[in-house]
């Protein structure tokens, strides 16, 4: 952050606030997804299996953080809250990210399966949002969709390498897929807000994204010699503020500096 200017977000000068509370809440949902996954990925810094991968995960985390800043600044502007207010001063139950994005990193295969499922979802979502009636969401999506294309490629390359690799890497990646897969269903849930947003022409119904997502994911899994898990268990609740056990620890780490030293600057 700059040292002589007040620490206001560079996004603060973006034109206009969301048209209504629903659009604001929707932007915050997407912002929370990007913020929380960004934080999880940043936990790999200095722990990834090779230095190039360390850098790659940090870069992807940075892209997501940038998307989160745009989305949270925009969503928060409706109620006069800054991106920092939203990221650092909300309690666990106020976060509306998908549970998938908060899942603990696990081994590298778990992280890469989570990346594959989420990046393919984000690609479908942003492609659609590019033609949103909401100009700011369309602009954010048009920018982010190009970044996400690289995230998909990165995850795809790793999943094929791991799945179609040694017996050990294959088994671990299949196990990772079984672990993460149930949480993918929440990405495509149509709740009341999603319906209202779709009716406004602001965003697609989440369920409408699943066929294209599933096709893309399935092709990659097939090439990786991995098999699609069953769809029995569909955990959910992130959009309502219900989170997994690990989420509280994530927030504690993410928020403690800001809460301990309110208004601190570099």
């Amino acid at each position: 952050m700059s040292n002589s200017e007040p620490v206001t977000s560079f996004m603060a000068e973006s034109p206009g606030a969301p048209a209504n509370a629903d659009v604001a809440a929707y932007a915050i949902r997407l912002g929370d997804d990007a913020l929380i996954l960004s934080h999880r990925l940043s936990e790999w810094s200095a722990h990834a299996p090779q230095i190039e991968e360390d850098i790659a995960l940090a870069n992807i985390a940075l892209d997501l953080l940038g998307q989160a800043r745009s989305l949270l600044s925009y969503g928060g502007s409706f109620s006069g809250r800054s991106e920092d207010d939203l990221a650092y001063l909300r309690e666990e139950r106020r976060f509306t990210n998908l549970q998938l994005t908060e899942l603990e990193n696990g081994n590298f295969a778990v992280t890469m399966i989570r990346q594959l499922l989420f990046s393919c979802y984000q690609r479908e979502l942003y492609r659609d949002l590019e033609s949103s009636r909401d100009a700011q969401l369309a602009a954010i999506a048009a920018k982010a969709v190009k970044e996400v294309a690289y995230h998909v490629e990165h995850a795809r390359t790793w999943i094929i390498r791991l799945g179609d690799g040694t017996e050990l890497s294959h088994d671990r990646t299949q196990a990772a897929l079984e672990t993460v897969w149930p949480f993918s269903h929440e990405m495509f849930e149509d709740d009341e807000l999603a319906h209202r947003i779709a009716d406004l022409g602001v965003a697609p119904l989440p369920s409408s994204l699943r066929p294209a997502w599933l096709g893309a994911v399935q092709d990659i899994l097939t090439e990786a010699t991995l098999s699609l898990p069953g769809d029995e268990w569909k955990p959910s609740g992130g959009r309502k503020g219900m989170h997994t056990e690990g989420f509280g620890y994530l927030l504690a780490e993410m928020q403690h500096l800001h809460r301990s030293h309110p208004g601190a600057r570099w």
């Binding site: 952050m1 700059s2 002589s4 200017e5 560079f10 996004m11 000068e13 973006s14 190039e52 991968e53 850098i55 790659a56 940090a58 870069n59 992807i60 940075l62 892209d63 997501l64 953080l65 940038g66 998307q67 800043r69 745009s70 690609r123 492609r127 100009a135 700011q136 369309a138 602009a139 954010i140 048009a142 920018k143 982010a144 969709v145 190009k146 970044e147 294309a149 690289y150 998909v152 490629e153 990165h154 795809r156 390359t157 094929i160 893309a216 092709d219 990659i220 090439e223």
Partner: protein, 178 residues
């Protein structure tokens, strides 16, 4: 440098000149004009001059530094100036000028290859990746060979990937096509 009583057009031209000189903090041989992220210099509805920038990547940390640098450079010209960040239309590496590309090559960074329009397709083959899919081969900025390979799509900054030259064996950065 001050603008005395020039016309509005002269004021804008002076601002543009000052803003265009600001170097990119990560790749200082390039100015923000070379990069194509200086999008406009204009008068806002309230009459204040504003410099319009667009970020390279959503999370590029240099954006804040560039914004401050532009403000510092243009305030002398016009103390009323504002710096505005606009996301749309989204930046593409196709906006890097020919001059900028030559500077990158001289600096040891392979310039970006032309982007394809439309979304990057998911390929079934195991080899091609985002950066590999550009139509032209990436050339080694050191020896000029086109026999190069990708080491990692993510390099030292969000906008670069890491490659290796098979001819001279040197690793090098390539500006990613975006």
């Amino acid at each position: 440098m001050t603008v005395a009583t020039g016309s509005d057009l002269e004021r804008l031209a002076a601002l543009r000149l000052a803003a265009a000189r600001v170097p990119d903090p990560e790749i200082p041989v390039l100015t923000i004009a070379d990069l194509g992220i200086l999008r406009d210099v204009r008068f806002a509805a309230d009459g204040s001059p504003e410099v319009v920038l667009t970020p390279t990547y959503s999370g590029c940390p240099a954006t804040e530094a560039i914004r401050q640098d532009v403000l510092d450079q243009t305030r002398d010209v016009d103390p009323q100036v504002r710096v505005v960040i606009e996301l749309a239309p989204a930046w593409t590496t196709d906006w890097i000028t020919e001059d900028g590309r030559a500077k990158l090559r001289d600096y040891g960074i392979a310039p970006p290859r032309p982007t394809r329009t439309g979304p990057v397709p998911v390929r079934l083959g195991s080899r091609p990746t985002g950066a590999e899919m550009a139509d032209q081969p990436a050339r080694c900025p050191r020896c000029g060979s086109s026999d190069t390979e990708l080491i990692s799509q993510f390099g030292s900054t969000p906008c670069k990937s890491l490659r290796r030259c098979r001819s001279c064996a040197e690793p090098f950065d390539e500006f990613k096509s975006l």
